[in-house]
């Protein structure tokens, strides 16, 4: 009984209603499920309710090959009532949901069609017909695009192999890779078609509006080879970097002008907005699905392990065997933990806390030290060598090395921390790695912002900077070049890392077959690498518009490298990976990195002075001015419009918006608190109802044992009388309570 009341506490409304009068009588239960399914699902979602209504008694029926005609009629009636006068094509979702064989579904569909052509008296009005027409067109369009996407879906057969051999967890890494790849592709198309093509036209045809000094990047350096790695020299004269885009207005043909200044600005805003929205949307839906909907008082640890344990995509005997083993060990482990309660004394608690503070301090110190190292090296140019190539690559090599080696240290630290839930160790390692990436890149970008920009450098008191620094005449291109190097070096590090961690281990395994296993694919580390290399691109796209092309090529190659290294050298993982929740974390990390990059770029656009000798914004004080200036110069008739725009672009307006947003957040919070209160009250009510039910069950049990005792003990009078009285009183009580319940139901 104690357990009973526990579970009642966290019971949800619809299940209480469902079970309240079913008690423990199996026949009653079965009958109830058959006949009253339609109404029991109130309070779940609208969709579920609709479905339940649309097929009363349907979902749990034992499946028969063919439904009886009257049953089909019933289903058809329900669908028709649910969505009256809709064309059959729009009702297909409801047909699909029916838990019956294809032949029955077809029958239902034909019946619906027949009914619509013959028996429908009331035709829908013109407006409604149009609406349905449009909906049908939309559905058809969606199906058509899905059909086309099926043909062009990238790497489908590879995904089948990966999922079949290694399970869908490893597959999730490759899916994320493909997702980021697909994020870069539209960005590349956007920048290429709106920036690079017009620029190429200018360069080759030279048709300027104003034909004075035109192309800033004449081909002076020949292409030698090492440029591929350094991104300097020859590349500096190409459309890869900001510096080569013209400040002029291009005349495409007579009367049609194309202003590169605006194009550059709006294309940048468009791709950052596009990626931000797309990432935010994915994060939002993933969070909703995996955290909000999965929250609740009931912890479904064991049920989740058992009912979601098997990965249905596994298609290989060995993988299946391994999966059996993994699940078995996992269940055994968690059960043994269940049996021995961990004693939580003050001493162990104190030690644990102390140790965790220590490890956090150590990892923060490591992160801080790497940030300082990056600063020190950039400031003093201490890695200066005579070899130009080495000199160019010193900084990217240092940063990539830090970002590849320190995560190993973090995972060692996390293993010392001894978390009770292994997932926490993973999360901490991930957060530390992300901090490390942010710290190294952040320091570097800050350093660039204050030193390579001549204007900024003049403003600063130079004493605290080393004399080795000099400002660059075209600092945007310089930054683009640096980030290009980082991207390339990161690519080579990824390949090397794959070679070392997967190939070498595999070779070692070949030599000592029995002792050392093949390596497992490290999903977390590989995914974090992906996020790091993508944030480089986000940071650099403003300074180097074609960086997304480099990234597209890089990820394309990377996919094949990883895919073949996986199938050739790795073995399926023996750890259980909480794919859904970790995926949300990854999306969160991606979003945060993107946000940081956008902030950095926005800062440089709003408050840094553009280079005065190259790029589209030579004559401006800031890039952002390109938007505000036309309005300042405006001397047309619509003066009020000018005022409005002035107001919108002013700081006051910004703060106004901020205030409105804060008020909205506050308001939503209040509403949320009110909802919590309602939830609390409802829970209280459920608790009371649970007590009601418990009381009823008690009485019933009393009653049945009492009556059997009564029958068996006719001889003992006193006892008999007692039970009889007891029976009478309890049956009265039951009667009263049952009446109460019926009233409520009606």
């Amino acid at each position: 009984m104690a357990r009973y009341s526990d579970s009642i506490n966290s019971f949800e409304l619809q299940t209480v209603r469902h079970n309240r009068d079913s008690l423990n009588d199996p026949e009653h239960r079965l009958a109830e499920r058959r006949y009253s399914r339609g109404g029991e699902n109130e309070g779940i979602s609208r969709r579920r309710k609709k479905r339940a209504n649309s097929f009363a008694s349907g979902t749990l029926r034992i499946r028969r090959p063919v439904l009886r005609q009257d049953e089909i009629e019933q289903v058809v009636d329900e669908i028709d009532n649910d969505t009256p006068d809709q064309p059959v094509a729009l009702q297909s979702d409801q047909i699909k949901e029916q838990n019956v064989p294809m032949s029955a579904k077809r029958e239902i569909r034909r019946n619906l069609e027949r009914r619509q052509t013959t028996t429908r008296i009331k035709k829908p009005g013109w407006f409604r017909r149009k609406k349905y027409d449009i909906q049908m067109q939309w559905c058809r369009f969606k199906l058509w695009t899905a059909d086309q996407f099926y043909t062009i879906e990238l790497w489908r057969s590879h995904f089948r192999t990966i999922d079949g051999h290694f399970g869908s967890d490893v597959g999730s890494y490759f899916r994320l890779l493909r997702w980021i790849f697909s994020l870069n592709l539209p960005v590349f198309i956007l920048t290429f078609s709106f920036l690079t093509i017009p620029q190429l036209i200018v360069r080759n045809l030279g048709n300027f509006d104003d034909s004075q000094e035109s192309v800033t990047c004449k081909f002076e350096h020949p292409f030698e080879g090492p440029e591929f790695l350094t991104g300097g020299g020859w590349f500096n004269q190409t459309e890869l970097y900001y510096g080569c885009y013209t400040k002029e207005i291009i005349q495409i043909w007579k009367g049609h002008k194309y202003d590169m200044k605006y194009a550059y600005f709006f294309v940048c805003v468009a791709y950052y907005l596009f990626t931000l929205l797309r990432t935010a949307y994915s994060l939002q839906s993933s969070y909703k699905e995996n955290f909000i909907e999965a929250e609740g008082e009931i912890q479904a640890f064991y049920s989740a392990r058992v009912f979601c344990g098997w990965d249905y995509r596994i298609a290989h005997k060995e993988t299946a065997l391994l999966k059996h083993k993994t699940l078995s060990t996992l269940l055994k482990e968690s059960l043994s933990k269940y049996n021995e309660r961990v004693s939580n004394s003050w001493k162990t608690f104190f030690l644990k806390t102390f140790f965790r503070i220590l490890t956090n301090v150590v990892s923060l110190a490591l992160i801080g030290a790497s940030g300082y190292l990056v600063w020190y090296i950039s400031d003093t140019q201490s890695l200066k060598t005579d070899n130009k190539f080495l000199h160019d690559m010193a900084m990217p090599l240092t940063i990539s090395a830090l970002n590849f080696i320190l995560p190993f240290a973090f995972s060692i630290i996390a293993s010392f921390e001894n978390y009770s839930i292994p997932q926490y160790a993973l999360y901490f390692t991930m957060i530390r790695t992300l901090l490390l990436n942010a710290a190294t890149l952040g320091v570097l970008v800050y350093f660039w912002f204050i030193t390579v920009n001549c204007d900024q450098l003049e403003k600063k008191d130079e004493n605290w900077l080393n004399a080795a620094v000099d400002c660059k005449p075209c600092w945007e291109s310089f930054m683009g070049e640096q980030i290009y190097r980082l991207v390339i070096v990161d690519f080579f590090f990824t390949i090397l890392f794959t070679l070392f961690s997967e190939l070498i281990r595999f070779l070692v395994h070949k030599c000592f077959k029995s002792r050392i296993d093949k390596p497992e694919f490290d999903i977390a580390r590989n995914t974090l690498n992906l996020i790091y290399s993508q944030s480089l691109v986000w940071l650099g796209t403003f300074y180097s518009p074609l960086l997304s092309l480099i990234q597209v090529i890089k990820f394309f190659v990377l996919f094949y490298i990883k895919r073949y290294s996986l199938t050739l050298f790795c073995r399926p993982s023996s750890k259980l990976w909480k794919a859904a929740k970790t995926q949300t974390f990854f999306l969160l990390f991606i979003f945060v990195s993107l946000l940081l990059c956008v902030i950095a770029v926005a800062f440089s656009m709003i408050s840094l002075k553009p280079s005065q000798s190259c790029g589209p914004y030579q004559e401006f004080n800031t890039t952002y001015q390109v938007i505000t200036e036309p309005f300042n110069k405006w001397s047309g008739k619509l003066n009020w419009l000018k005022e409005i725009i002035k107001l919108i672009t002013s700081d006051v307006f910004f703060f106004l918006i901020l205030t409105v947003l804060s008020v909205t957040v506050y308001y939503t919070r209040i509403i949320m608190n009110a909802h919590f209160e309602v939830v609390r009250l409802l829970k209280h009510q459920l608790h009371n109802e649970g007590k009601d039910k418990q009381f009823l069950i008690g009485l019933l049990q009393n009653n049945s044992t009492g009556s059997s005792r009564h029958n068996n003990s006719n001889n003992s009078n006193t006892r008999g009388n007692y039970t009889e009285n007891n029976n009478k009183s309890s049956s009265n009580k039951i009667h009263v309570i049952q009446n109460r319940h019926f009233d409520r139901d009606e």
């Binding site: 579970s7 299940t15 469902h18 079970n19 423990n24 239960r29 079965l30 499920r33 969709r47 579920r48 749990l60 499946r63 059959v88 297909s92 047909i95 699909k96 949901e97 838990n99 064989p101 294809m102 579904k105 077809r106 569909r109 899905a146 059909d147 099926y150 995904f159 089948r160 999922d163 079949g164 869908s168 995996n290 909907e293 999965a294 609740g296 009931i298 479904a300 640890f301 064991y302 049920s303 989740a304 058992v306 009912f307 979601c308 344990g309 098997w310 990965d311 249905y312 995509r313 596994i314 298609a315 290989h316 299946a320 065997l321 059996h324 078995s328 060990t329 059960l335 049996n339 909480k578």
Partner: protein, 184 residues
């Protein structure tokens, strides 16, 4: 895909498209998979039924511990043998486009070994034993595990999981949709 486009005419494909979660090309691909199981038989008689053993030679089903249950649940004669339409039904439920509540219903039926519309202790034991394969749990552990599951999910304390309870507990497990999938 060659001549398989001609296997179904456009109207049939259209109809299948409305009755499953697949697009036309996917339906043809599913047919290709079905045909591969026994080409000569399927070519001779497209609507013929393949035996359960033949269906289970599909790699994903071969590796799946619940393969027999899956075949029985999706077979329209409940015997385990499948026609192409049954096969298409099955792949549609396991597809990425199928919504969660449809998947949950079929999962419940797959795990309901004795077809009595509730997951009793016996069913749960069967599920766990199929999951762990050769690495069986000890009897004590198994009992403990079943009790734990019931404690989590059995809200009305009747010693078995009804569909509503099953659906409720699945809603707390976000990994379900992802694991209950087979790629076309």
């Amino acid at each position: 895909m060659g001549n398989q486009g001609s296997v179904f005419d456009d109207r049939q494909l259209e109809e299948y498209q409305e009755l499953t979660y697949f697009t036309k090309k996917e339906i043809l691909h599913v047919y290709k998979k079905f045909r591969q199981l026994n080409p000569s038989f399927v070519d001779a008689n497209r609507d013929g039924r393949l035996d359960m053993d033949v269906i289970m030679s599909l790699p994903e089903l071969k590796a799946n511990p619940f393969n027999e249950r899956i075949c029985k649940v999706f077979s329209s004669t409940s015997s385990g043998d499948m026609s192409f339409e049954d096969f298409l039904d099955m792949m549609s439920v396991f597809s990425e486009a199928a919504p969660k509540h449809v998947k949950v219903e079929y999962a419940f039926r797959i795990y309901d070994f004795d077809d009595d519309d509730v997951l009793s202790r016996g069913d749960l034991k069967n599920v766990v034993n199929h999951l762990t394969g050769n690495e069986v749990l000890e009897a004590d552990d198994l009992e403990q595990l079943i009790s734990n599951i019931l404690e989590e999910a059995d809200l009305d304390n009747d010693g078995a999981l009804s569909f509503a309870e099953f659906e409720h507990v699945i809603s707390k497990a976000p990994d379900f949709v992802n694991s209950f999938r087979i790629r076309v």
